[in-house]
């Protein structure tokens, strides 16, 4: 029995709805939920914590059905994007708010708060009112307030997205450290890939009130099960047919482009293959090294620059292949539109989804 489980959850609030969401994860796991605006992510959170009662479906925590428990009995913490600090209390009292219920000893509360403040670097602002704090400080206070009562599960709704990039970066690092030290189970809604890379063990991707894919970070990134998810995680999905093979590798025909893969599939089967752009190698000349496999000649159709990277779009026959190179590689390879290059991809990176 898993630590936390949502079973076939339905709710319809008009604008937002959940249409049969199931999720499960283990103690200490960090799950990020991604999805476009309106996919139902926040509603899912508010159903899990009990602000809404699902029309159908159950929520289990530590093996117990908590669907009918009021929020104050669930011991699930929440951190919102807008921090939701109580404006009429100072930082200390905000953090103390939940502790008062569980710890009647004033001195021990004080110790816990000071420890928490120390670990999240807010000791110097304990006696300030929330309205006088910066976004990053407010978010650290909100996080302290949620963590200090030792919740069984922590929910975070885009906790970093209202921060400026620099603060987001440092807060994320602090968040990762705080989570690692506590062995806490987290469900974190985000739009930011960097959050996923830095924090997540598992990823769930939602669309239109449903979970499209829910798996480990590696699996979702490398084997997105459809193009919607592939777009989300920056991969490309192709449809192909499995050809008879000789060397034990699986040969896949993608509209005339034949790639070999270390994954397994039955001959004749119609399958989907995912490629990640960073796994495509680009060469000026056909590589003569025999260890290089899956060599394809392709024309550069288009490219754009983003930061220090160039996103390239090659075409080989009917197939459009995205790739990504650093700007120095781009110039070394002398890449230009409509010029031919050679691409290669390691069979281990040709993944059947």
């Amino acid at each position: 029995m898993s630590f936390f489980r949502v079973e076939d959850m339905h709710i319809n609030l008009g604008e937002f709805s959940l249409k049969g969401v199931s999720l499960e994860f283990e103690r200490g796991e960090y799950l990020t939920v991604m999805g476009p605006t309106g996919a139902g992510k926040t509603i899912l959170l508010e159903c899990i914590i009990g602000f809404y009662h699902p029309e159908k479906g159950r929520v289990f925590l530590e093996g117990r059905d908590i669907t009918d428990d009021p929020p104050e009995k669930r011991r699930i913490g929440i951190v919102y994007q807008d921090y939701a600090l109580l404006p009429h209390m100072d930082v200390f009292k905000n953090i103390e708010y939940g502790l008062k219920k569980t710890d009647s000893n004033k001195e021990s509360r004080r110790t816990k708060i000071l420890d928490m403040a120390e670990s999240l670097n807010i000791s110097h602002i304990l006696h300030r009112k929330p309205t006088t704090l910066s976004g990053g400080e407010q978010q650290r206070v909100a996080l302290s307030r949620a963590l200090v009562v030792d919740p069984r599960l922590l929910l975070m709704d885009e906790p970093l997205s209202a921060l400026d990039p620099q603060t987001r970066h440092t807060t994320r690092a602090l968040l990762r450290q705080a989570m690692r030290n506590r062995d806490i189970t987290v469900l974190h809604i985000t739009h930011d890939m960097d959050d996923v890379w830095a924090l997540a063990d598992k990823v769930a991707i939602m669309r239109d009130g449903r979970i499209e894919q829910h798996n480990t970070l590696q699996c979702v990134f490398n084997r997105p099960c459809n193009q919607f998810i592939a777009d989300f995680v920056g991969a490309t999905v192709f449809e192909g047919t499995v050809l008879p093979s000789s060397n034990g590798h699986c040969l896949i025909d993608i509209e005339g482009l034949v790639l070999s893969s270390t994954d397994h599939a039955q001959h004749g089967e119609n399958i989907k293959v995912a490629l990640r752009p960073e796994n495509i190698m680009v060469f000026q000349q056909r590589p003569d090294n025999h260890s290089v496999q899956n060599i394809v000649e392709a024309t550069l159709e288009d490219y754009y620059k983003e930061g220090i990277l160039y996103h390239l779009f090659f075409r080989s026959g009917e197939v459009r292949i995205p790739a990504v190179v650093t700007s120095s590689a781009f110039h070394e390879l002398n890449l230009e539109r409509n010029r031919s290059s050679f691409l290669s991809v390691n069979p281990t990176n040709v993944r059947i989804t």
Partner: protein, 280 residues
Amino acid sequence: MTTSTLRKSRFRGVLSSARGLSGLAFYGWMILSAALVLLFIFGPLASVIAAPTWERMYETLIDAQVIASIRLSLVTAGTASAVALILGTPLAYLLARNDFPGKRVVESLIDLPIMIPHPVVGIALLSLAGRNHWFGEFIQSIGIELMGTTTGIICVLVFVGMPFYVNTAKAGFESVSPRLENVSRSLGAGPGATFFRVTLPLTWRHVLVGMIMCMARALSEFGAVVIVAYHPMIAPVLMYERFTAYGLSWSQPVAVLLILVSMTFFLVLRIISNPSGSKR
């Protein structure tokens, strides 16, 4: 920004952009209309206040009947706004936090006392609480009489003042993000604790302003009160009686007194509810 740069120009607003012929014409019209409205409110009040002689004012000040009526006015209006606080707060909170079919109907029902003619309010209350109605019989059997009593006056004032309290308090509750309550619940506080530790402390200004509005409305009520209780006399009824029995010059000093007492009272409450003149 330092305060000194803010203080340099005390006047800030759209008028500072009044330039050119069309701008001057437009803002000229606006300023003239605004001045006219202010004069219209201030003029009659000023003339009432200026009318009585000092001698007449002094006589009024030591007139026990006048003092009693003003005290009764303040006490009944104050009680009405306290009743509105106790009974109206849950309604305001429920309306602010829930959506349900028929919410619009409930909201317009609350506004109804503002619209109906004042004597109708009195008549309606009497017809429910009179001897010809089972409810009237019932409350009289437990010793509650509305006709000609202070209880009756308070009843009327609660009726006419309630919309002002409920609407203001509701606006206050709506201004508190439900997320604050959610967070409080997630931290182990039940709905009651959340209301008293989070929601109410954040809306006390709205609640106080609502009580002020309710009390102000109650202080000014005449038409409904005069039907339910001519005696004991509240200040507006006494003024009316002095006006019909002795004429204008005898009702003016009572009016001045009532205006002064209420203005002082409301000014103090306004200052409490909105310190430092912030824009909220």
